[in-house]
Amino acid sequence: MRKKLLVLTLAMSMVVGLVGCGNKGNGNGGGGGGDSAAAVSGETEAKEINGITYNRATDLTDKNIELTYFHFDQNETVEYLADRFEEIYPNITVNPVYENVGTYNDTLTTLISNGESPDIIMFSDADAALSNFWVADISAYYDSDPETKELASTINECGLGCYSTSKRYAVPIKFFPGVMYIDLNVLKKLNVEAPSRNWTWADMIQLIKDCTVKDSSDGMPYYGCGFYNRLDSYYGIAAAQTIQGEFGFDGTDFDLGVWAVGEQEFAGLKQGGYIAPSSQTVEMENWMGDWEQWCGNSGHVALFTEAFWTFQNTWNTPTYHEQYDLDIVPYVVPAVSEEDAAKDHHTIATIDFGGITTACQYPREAYELLKFMSFGKDGWKTRIELYNDETQVNASGIALKYDVMPAPITTDSEIWDGYIEMYCKGMDETHVGYWREFFESCLQPIPYGWVSIAGYWNYCDQYFNKLGIHDLVDSGKGKAADYADEATEKANYYHAKAMLDYFGKSGYDVLSDEEIEKYETMEKENS
């Protein structure tokens, strides 16, 4: 009898355990339900917290609700913003969930497949989000929100976040403008004149060549360019104002002929010895005497294609000011034609997008939170307050201003004045002028393809990266122009296929019959 009882207990506990570990069901139900408003009314009331006046939306639910915000943003910043949002809307509890970018998609997929979908998600791979209907159509909220009219012009003009449809699925969350950094001290040492602020692509290439000096007086060679981002990515956008994405994407078709010019030029610079050695290479060891070194420390590189955050994270830190003789200033990514260069123009930028999931029960409230975390003015007021307070630090004890701080994507002058003041704290007038000028010219961003073009990531994964075209051209084994035609066909094929899969009848079903026919023809022609 005792044995029987023991066995029964074991069996029961196991079954209970299994049930407990099993599917908890989709707590979010069918999505879009509840008593959430269908559009943004625009009606607000003022609420002051910490000296900041917030425009509290009055058309949000009075119910006590919880919203989950799944992100790979700077965690302490998001938590601070979430707390402030809760202060503005006391009935809404925000549950921010951070996941490292390396495992982000895996964790999100697992959560969603377990029926534990968050309400709002960030994403940097549009194909995963669109092919699985992760993000809902938020056009009704976005179009009725007055703040969206004040965003950087390309967001609306090029339909960034709409993926070549008439619907909006995502908004920009983090914006890092494309920037060319020039070390003025290197130019002084080499007696090279600083380029014009309205420089062209050709001016930039000339600068790189002028600043490459192999037999310098101090015995350490100078290089024209130290690269993090490839120049061909920059060139692909800088070539023409009609381009809306990487690889010459004009909103419907790709044309890698444009990319091929930039790719070949960059390969030529590499082969000609104008590009500084990368870290962990024999060339680096020979140049700086240390395998691990970074060319940004050398004081022997004129121009850097570093990320926007490198300035605050690295060059603007006290250690760098004390240890290295650098004078880094920002230049806008030059346009190819003189006409485009003379005015503000499209430049590549790193933008992470985010959206509301299709399972979210309170999309209106989620939209307000999404806006607060991304482009919203109230959110940016809070961010600037946070970044100004250097006692607010990350897990490593570094002030949040120096930890991958993005730039506002709104054009609102109040926000930008506050941001520039905070950004340039401690700089002299000349340098503030450089930055102010740069920020005024950087608001026509075009993001990298994988966040803005349907099928782009599949194309890279299945074709472009598999062939290893960059390596082939860089090493001189192939000419970029030889790949351009086939690469264009493949890019168009993957894009057309993705458009049909994601937005056709079996997808979101938002394409018109004409559009479906167009993409079907495009798919057939390029397959």
């Binding site: 044995k3 066995v7 069996a11 895996d106 997929t109 979908s117 209907f133 399972a359």
Partner: protein, 345 residues
């Protein structure tokens, strides 16, 4: 009163008889047994049968993991053909895996056997050495092993792996040379995989009857002869066990590039890949693993030895003789009866 008592006694006796019925006892024992294995049955159904069936179902579908549930689109065997025909990486990695497994399994097992024999000797600090060889199993697992490999700890620094790789590549085609070279480059990792196998061999060696060795020594048998004639035949079943364990371990290990490829495809989240595609990959991979296991099992399955065969043959002959003897006895009895009847007549 006595009559009443006898009735009650009869009742009790009937009850006892009922209780003692052999069928009921067997039934009750069967139920108890069943109850004891119920957790295992539930576990096997939930964690083995259900995932197997589900993954096969996934393999036949194109799956979208949406926040409102999973969308299935039946595509038949398209995922399997896609894996084989459109993605060259999987078949190539599969071929590399087969070659490297066939080579590395004997290396691991032989190494484990040698170390187990050495650890079975009467040496000082035996426990400490056993601990050293088993430690990688506990410490060096999963991400730690990956990090150590990244730092180059997977290869023996004293060996010029580059020279070995170059010479192998000079002799063999690259499809064979690459997996063989990678074995030399990851020699330490491979040897770290042998902790459990050493333990299994050690337990089997310790169970062996020492008198066999003593007898062999008295008869003049050398250590070498003892190993081949006594040790090896005795631990042969453990060799197969270790081979199967090693294959399964290598195949499911996080360092295995195919596992990484399946995982990447699973979370690719695109129309081309995803859960369905990854499940098709996993099924094909499992079949290859099973084939390798069968191959080694056929090679190392314990065959009955000659002595046992002869004993069995002799027993059979003896039984046959007995049957014939009985037949003769019966026949002679019948004949005797016949003769007796004929005599009366």
């Amino acid at each position: 009163m006595s009559e009443k008592m006898s009735k009650e006694e009869k009742k009790q006796a009937r009850k006892n008889r009922k209780k003692m019925k052999a069928g009921r006892l067997a039934k009750r024992e069967a139920i108890t047994g069943l109850l004891f294995i119920t957790p295992w049955i539930i576990g096997a159904l939930m964690f083995l049968a259900y995932p197997l069936i589900t993954s096969f179902r996934y393999a036949l579908n194109n799956i979208r993991i949406t926040p409102l549930g999973m969308n299935f689109e039946y595509v038949g065997y398209e995922n399997f053909t896609q894996v084989l025909l459109s993605d060259a990486e999987f078949p190539m990695q599969l071929a590399d895996y087969v070659v490297s497994t066939i080579i590395s399994v004997p290396i691991i097992v032989v190494f484990a056997l040698i170390i187990a024999i050495m650890l079975n000797q009467n040496i000082k600090g035996k426990g400490f050495f056993r601990l050293i060889f088993f430690l990688p199993v506990i410490i060096v697992s999963g991400p730690i092993l990956g990090m150590l490999n990244e730092e180059g700890a997977g290869s023996i620094t004293a060996i010029d792996t580059q020279a070995i790789t170059t010479s192998i590549q000079g002799v063999l085609p690259s499809s064979l040379a690459d997996p063989i070279s990678s074995i030399f480059e990851n020699m330490v990792t491979i040897l770290w995989y042998s902790g459990v196998q050493i333990l299994i061999f050690l337990s089997s060696l310790q169970k062996m009857d020492r008198s066999m060795f003593e007898a062999a020594k008295i008869d003049g048998g050398s250590g070498w002869e003892c190993f081949w004639k006594i040790t090896l035949p005795n631990i042969k079943p453990m060799i197969l066990l270790n081979i199967v364990y090693t294959i399964v371990f290598i195949s499911n290990n996080e360092q295995n590039t195919i596992i990484e490829l399946i995982k990447t495809s699973m979370f690719a989240g695109t129309q081309e890949k995803g859960y369905g595609y990854a499940s098709a990959m996993a099924w094909m991979y499992s079949l290859i693993v099973v084939v390798i296991v069968i191959l080694f099992a056929v090679l190392f399955m314990a065959k009955k030895d000659v002595y046992e065969k002869q004993v069995k043959k002799a027993k059979k002959a003896h039984k046959k003789e007995l049957r014939q003897l009985k037949k003769i006895e019966r026949r002679s009895a019948r004949n005797a009866k016949k003769n007796a009847r004929a005599g009366r007549v």
